[in-house]
Amino acid sequence: MMKTRISTEWLSGCSGCHIAIVDLHEKLLNLIDDVEFVRIPVLMDEKEYPEADVGIVEGAIRSEHDRKCLLRMRETCKTLVAFGTCAVYGGPSGIGWLYGKDTILNKIYKDTVTATDDGKLPEGAPELEQSVIPLNEVVDIDFYIPGCPPHPYFIALSIKTLLGASVPEISIKTVCSACKRRMEKREGVKLQRGMSTASEEDICLLSQGIICLGSVTLDRCQAQCPNKGVACAGCAGPSIDIITEPHLDIRTLIAKRMSLLTGIDRIEILDYMEKEAKTFYSYAISSPIIYKKPTVEIREWAGN
């Protein structure tokens, strides 16, 4: 049997998604029989782009170099997968979308007190793009696997699908569906600002007054954070409702649910989330799915 050729590439990201593939552990060994990695930057030094059946791209586009690499990947791979939240939605570095190229370069090389060299920009580095760009803005993507990084469970499922071994039903539910905590209606709960962890076991963080993005986030993680008492940061990007319906948004949905559960004023939650928009929208800030929504004004909320 011909082995399936997999080529991976790593753009503006943290390499966490590549490490997540290695996290398949012994499952990786089963995979090796059917798969040949022709290019994988964490493991081998391959400068060229060999022809491959499946291309897996991690990270967003931040520089011209990233853009060229992505175009080469599209040319050489039959199926291209946007792997991880950065590739699908821009990820945390997407915060660059708020400011634009010149503001960032000036801030770092000219306006900062410690800047030397008379504010000269470094030479020889690839030109920065105006903003952080998710992959599907530049090329056609065949499959999206968000997650920061995607849980090995979902990676294994997706790879099986790609190899054509089976067509598993991949869940499109939210993080809450995998969370073991129980949502409970309460009275007299106060909104907890800043980073806080759950004080009670088995009770939903929203019921305890902590803003947890579990209910507006796609489950690609099996709810690891909320199950351990840490609020969901929304790392796998918005849920299917938010993606498909223009009038639904992260902050409005959270505020609605939380005020129904705890009796905290909806406006108070909305105001807080707008003030902390860089935190609550951090993973999908540079995706048009979020910034094109009529109700989202992140640039205004961030004060520029």
């Binding site: 993507i141 968000p146 039903e169 949502m183 939903c204 299917i240 993606i243 319906e245 094109k292």
Partner: protein, 240 residues
């Protein structure tokens, strides 16, 4: 009939669906801490339970989405590639249904226009303008148009395909709008009504009001020439 399924593994027992449902379809089982579908036939497919459910545990079968453009098609395409089982809206595309609906709408519009004319008399154009302005504030828009030209493009896009509108803007104050095929023209033809009647007055003021509010400009209709091949409106534009 609509069939509702609750994924009991996913459910987090928040009871929000029980509170949200306008027709009391659900009841909460205090022992199991799960909601139960008790009056399924009362469901009319508003999907508020599905929207409020934090775990997206509620799915409906055999529902008809109310509007075709309710969903963002670009994002729907993306969503379908996130996983294999994304439900796509099954809007009816039956031509006979559409025609019947349009005929019905046409008769209603004509009678509304004539009632307005009888009760309001000369204030009829103002009603059209106000309606257009209200619509401009209520339709969701991705961003505020930066120039008058851009607002015009958005308006034309939103009026197509029911209206074939060709605006001709000279860049300063003169705007000429040519309407070739139009829902109202066809309506007038089938009903045997002369062009330029009450409904036309309502419509072209409505359009001017809409474009004006969208572009933050004041539009003054100077001349309207309904014709057998196309209607032509001359509009003076005061960009603020």
């Amino acid at each position: 009939m609509i069939k509702i399924t609750i994924d009991e593994d996913a459910c987090v027992g928040c009871e929000l669906c029980v509170d949200e449902c306008p027709t009391d379809v659900f009841e909460f089982n205090e022992e199991k801490l799960l909601p139960k579908v008790v009056r399924e036939k009362e469901c009319f497919g508003c999907l508020s339970c599905s929207e409020i459910c934090p775990a997206s545990a509620i799915t409906h079968e055999d529902i008809i989405y109310s509007e075709e453009y309710y969903h963002d098609n670009e994002n729907l395409a993306l969503a379908s590639r996130l996983a294999v089982d994304v439900p796509l809206p099954n809007t009816p595309s039956d031509d006979a249904h559409k025609k019947a609906a349009l005929d019905d709408l046409g008769i209603r519009l004509l009678s509304v226009a004539s009632i307005f004319r009888q009760t309001l008399g000369g204030s009829l154009p103002a009603v059209g303008t106000m309606a257009g302005r209200t619509l401009a504030t209520q339709l969701p828009r991705y961003r505020i148009p930066e120039s008058f030209k851009e607002a015009l493009d958005i308006a034309v896009r939103q009026f197509t395909p029911a209206w074939d509108i060709k605006p001709d803007y000279d860049g300063s104050s003169k705007l000429e709008i040519k309407v070739k095929s139009c829902f109202i023209r066809e309506l007038c033809k089938t009903e045997g009504i002369e062009l330029g009647g009450d409904l036309c007055v309502l419509f072209y003021n409505y359009m001017a009001g809409y474009i004006g509010k969208l572009a933050n400009a004041r539009l003054k209709l100077t001349e309207s020439c309904p014709g057998s091949k196309e209607c032509k409106y001359d509009i003076e534009v005061f960009v603020k």
